[in-house]
């Protein structure tokens, strides 16, 4: 890009957006030049998506202004944004699967005639797809297309509508490496014609490969702006996650015992048949917390599901207490003492329409005293629930209240109570404190430390580096379904972790970083 002729096309000034209890954007400034690719880098919850949703009119900012080509604009809806030449490719594509590419592209156009001339549309799409190297058959149905092709349709849709500013939300998250390379090429053509792009990401290598400039957001604030060729992955990693660790809980020294869980060369596929875990090997001993660090979507859920029997690996072995349990069902894993605190509390961890007491006994109901000869014992259920409610300080009006009427923190405490109570070997906890307030977070972490003291093995999957550094004994970093390295948590800094989270294997790091 030619730095001499910078022409500002978009300026966002002092954008502030509040949600109840959260400051999602705090006086964020953003400028975008013609022909530029701008990366928005930050952890989950840093405010990247909020900022872009303001720009395309899904949210309305509380404070701040937006200028387009020097003129102040009000954007009330995505269709306003489209009129101004701003379009977004969402992470989950907004395409109608049973319609063709051409139909999807013209769907929702305002000046569409009653009977659209599909042939003309097709011709124009063909011309555009040649021009921008976005190869796709206009008459194909969406359900016939790969994810990469669907993304091309989304981009074509924006170009067809005359967008000059394209927003891409984690565009490579769903792509194969080859498709990602093609996307890079498409961006080059687009920018060479003076169009600009903003892309949301938390992958360092993507920033380095795609962008001209990068803005780093942290907890809603813009904390740095760098020209890509003047920065390094190290610096960006530090900027993204490099705040000081706030507190370390007092914990006893780790006294690891026998190996509880061993994963050997595990491979697993996701729902689309793409590899989600690649030759992953891990080991956890009793009395130890192994933290799994990594940006969401790098195989965390698959890892948890393989360990709990919900997903069968396509290759490799799961060994629990010395026994091969690779083919075990979820029930067999539960019965071997594996507990699981899932990431999706409401969707998986709890049954909203059932009572708190029933939810608490959903692991223990197979055994006495909760059932006797297949018959439930309501008195025992209530007694059992009251005990856990007191022990874990779950705030609920009565044990019979439907659990969906509790706060998120209390639902999480209930799930934790149930899982801890039923656990007798391995505890798998995925994002256990996500979305909880400080008090609840601390009690969740304390409970996990207590389990380690009890001699359980804990697999803690978290995005929160503070959490990982403060309670785990060792940290393994997961990237793209692979382990980038395992490090003892006392001797690691967040910059090193940040680099590994961005895809740099431990072997490529300088020695002093992990000594």
């Amino acid at each position: 890009m030619d730095n001499q002729q910078l022409q500002v096309v978009l300026e966002m000034r002092g954008i502030t957006k509040r949600f109840p209890g959260v400051l999602a954007n705090d006086k964020v400034d953003l400028t975008l030049n013609a022909g530029e690719v701008l990366a928005l880098l930050g952890e989950n919850g840093a405010g990247k998506s909020t900022l872009m949703n303001v720009l395309i009119g899904l949210y309305r900012q509380d404070e701040g202004e937006i200028y387009l080509g020097g003129k102040r604009v009000e954007i009330h809806s995505p269709s306003d944004a489209a009129d101004l030449g701003i379009g977004m490719v969402h992470q989950n594509f907004k395409l109608v699967r049973t319609m063709t590419v051409a139909e999807n592209i013209i769907l929702g156009l305002k000046d569409l005639p009653f009977i659209p001339k599909i042939q003309e549309v097709t011709k124009r799409i063909k011309a555009l797809s040649d021009q921008y190297h976005l190869k796709v058959d206009p008459s194909a149905y969406i359900w016939q297309l790969s994810v990469g092709e669907q993304q091309r349709v989304e981009i074509l849709k924006l170009i067809y509508r005359g967008a000059s500013i394209l927003i891409l939300d984690e565009p490579t998250a769903v792509l194969t490496p080859q498709e990602a390379q093609e996307l890079e090429h498409v961006l080059e053509i687009l920018t060479s014609e003076g169009k600009s792009a903003i892309f949301i990401t938390h992958k360092m290598e993507e920033v380095m490969a795609f962008s001209d400039r990068v803005l780093v957001l942290q907890q809603g604030k813009l904390i740095a702006s760098r020209n890509t060729d003047e920065t390094s992955p190290q610096e960006l990693a530090r900027l993204m996650v490099g705040r000081e660790v706030l507190f370390r809980l007092d914990k006893e020294p780790c006294q690891p015992g026998d190996t509880v869980l061993e994963l050997k060369d595990i491979c697993a596929m996701d729902n689309r048949g793409l590899p989600a875990l690649n030759d992953l090997s891990l080991e956890i001993k009793s009395g130890e917390i192994l933290g799994i660090a990594g940006v969401a979507g790098n195989g965390q859920n698959h890892l948890a599901e393989v360990v709990t029997g919900l997903k069968k690996p396509s290759k490799g072995q799961v060994i629990l207490n010395g026994k091969d349990v690779t083919q075990n069902s979820p029930l067999q894993m539960i019965q071997s003492g594996v507990s699981y605190i899932p990431a999706d509390r409401i969707g998986m961890g709890a049954v909203g329409n059932m009572a708190v007491s029933e939810n608490l006994s959903m692991k223990g109901y197979r055994k006495e005293p909760i059932t006797r000869n297949g018959i439930l014992q309501p008195k025992q259920i209530t007694k059992f629930a009251k005990n856990l409610i007191e022990l874990f300080r779950i705030a609920t009006p009565t044990p019979a209240t439907r659990i969906k009427f509790l706060s998120g923190g209390n639902i999480q405490k209930a799930i934790l109570a149930r899982e801890i109570d039923s656990c007798s070997g391995l505890m798998v906890a995925v994002y256990p404190s996500r979305g909880l307030d400080v008090g609840a977070t601390e009690s969740v972490r304390k409970m996990l430390l207590d389990q380690r003291q009890r001699g359980l093995a804990v697999l803690l999957i978290s995005e929160d580096l503070d959490e990982l550094l403060s309670i785990s004994d060792r940290i393994a970093v997961l990237f793209d379904g692979r382990i980038m390295g395992v490090v003892p948590s006392e001797h690691v800094d967040s910059e090193t972790l940040g680099l590994m989270m961005g895809g740099v294997p431990i072997s490529a790091l300088p020695d002093e970083a992990v000594s």
């Binding site: 029930l331 969707g347 059932m354 109901y365 439930l376």
Partner: protein, 370 residues
């Protein structure tokens, strides 16, 4: 000023009782408009219907006669719906109960000792109903075939097959051409309690109690409830989903099959034309109105039966079409569905402009309006 729906802090028990009751009265009001438009006096019509359904011991027993199959099929449908399995095949399962019961009564009677014949008839019908419901259940649970289509279409197979049987191979040779089988041997008759109201009533009461017990007091019922409420959670908790769906649907079909067998053995004592009256479809309304709860199904079934019997009565006494009762049955469902919203939500009227916002979306809304 804006009116918003707001989630309640807890389930409203008042609403759970009031909604079905008010829906019934709303249906009466809507029905009144229809009656007026066809020149009938709604009040005298309703009074005549009430008399027709409950006015005498005989009319009450006739209401019970129609309530029995509605109770059993209603319970069957409720079991399936609790699992979020949209079994609309109760009619077919009911008809199979009749076919199998008839087969046992007519063609196996010489092999079965008399005291065991009636139990065998009932059991045969129950098993046949279960199998008929098992087909869509297996298709759904193991290969994901949509159950609404399969269960509905299997109704036609069952109904037409029954017709084929009593018009064709099973037709009573001494029946003067009447479409129906021969009369069952007396050992296969289900005893009657009051006029034509038969022992099926007792079956229905027992079934309701057993279902209540299964869903509230057994480990299996607990698992079924979890599957119905949240399949992802059920899988996570190690519950075998496919197997349990099939088992629950066997139970669902068994209840409708029991209804069919009781109907042939208790009422007509033969399989004949007019056997399939659509009880299995009305059962869907019964189950919804009873909010899928077993004991209320019994009462709702009586109410629905009263509408049918009352409808027949106004045809006789006032010359109105008997479908008045069917129209009212249908009309009840609309206010019911609309009203069920109020058990979990309530209306709130917002007057000031600067209310504290509840969700980000609402915040945007209010800002856009200001």
């Amino acid at each position: 000023m804006r009116v918003v729906f707001e989630k309640r802090q807890s389930i409203s028990r008042q609403a759970m009782v009031l909604v079905p009751v008010l829906s019934f009265f709303a249906a009466l009001l809507l029905g009144a408009i229809l009656l007026l438009s066809s020149g009938a006096n709604p009040i005298t019509t309703y009074v005549a219907m009430l008399r027709g359904a409950f006015g005498s011991t005989y009319s009450f027993s006739e209401t019970l006669v129609k309530a029995i199959p509605l109770m059993l099929t209603g319970l069957g449908v409720a079991v399936a719906f609790k699992m979020r399995f949209w079994n609309i095949g109760a009619e077919g399962q009911f008809v199979w109960g009749g076919i199998a019961g008839t087969f046992v009564a007519l063609f196996l009677s010489q092999y079965i000792p008399d005291p065991l014949l009636l139990p065998a008839v009932i059991l045969g019908g129950t098993i046949a109903g279960a199998i008929w419901a098992g087909i869509p259940a297996v298709l759904k649970a193991y290969i994901g075939v949509d159950e609404t289509l399969t269960s509905l279409m299997l109704n036609y197979v069952a109904i037409l097959y029954a017709q084929y049987l009593f018009y064709g191979p099973w037709r009573d040779p001494e029946g003067y051409g009447f479409p129906g089988t021969a009369l069952f041997p007396e050992a296969a008759w289900l005893p009657r309690l009051l006029n034509r109201a038969h022992l099926g009533l007792v079956f229905a009461f027992i079934a309701a109690l057993v279902l209540w017990f299964i869903f509230n007091r057994t480990r299996w019922g607990f698992e079924l409830k979890i599957i119905g409420e949240n399949k992802t959670a059920a899988e996570y908790l190690g519950i075998k989903i496919a197997r349990n769906i099939v088992l629950a649907l066997l139970l669902s079909g068994a209840l409708s099959g029991l209804a069919g067998a009781s109907e042939v053995a208790g009422l007509s004592r033969r399989l004949q034309t007019g056997f399939s009256m659509g009880y299995g479809y009305t059962a869907i309304i019964v189950a919804w109105m009873a909010q899928l709860k077993s004991i209320p199904v019994l009462f709702v079934a009586v109410l629905m039966a009263a509408l049918l019997v009352g409808g027949d009565q106004v045809q006789l006494t006032m010359g109105l079409p008997s479908s008045v009762g069917l129209v009212l049955q249908g009309l009840i469902l609309f206010p019911m569905l609309a009203g069920s919203l109020f058990t979990e939500y309530r209306l709130r009227i917002i007057r000031q402009k600067n209310e504290p916002s509840i969700s980000p979306d609402q915040e945007i809304e209010s800002e856009l309006q200001s």
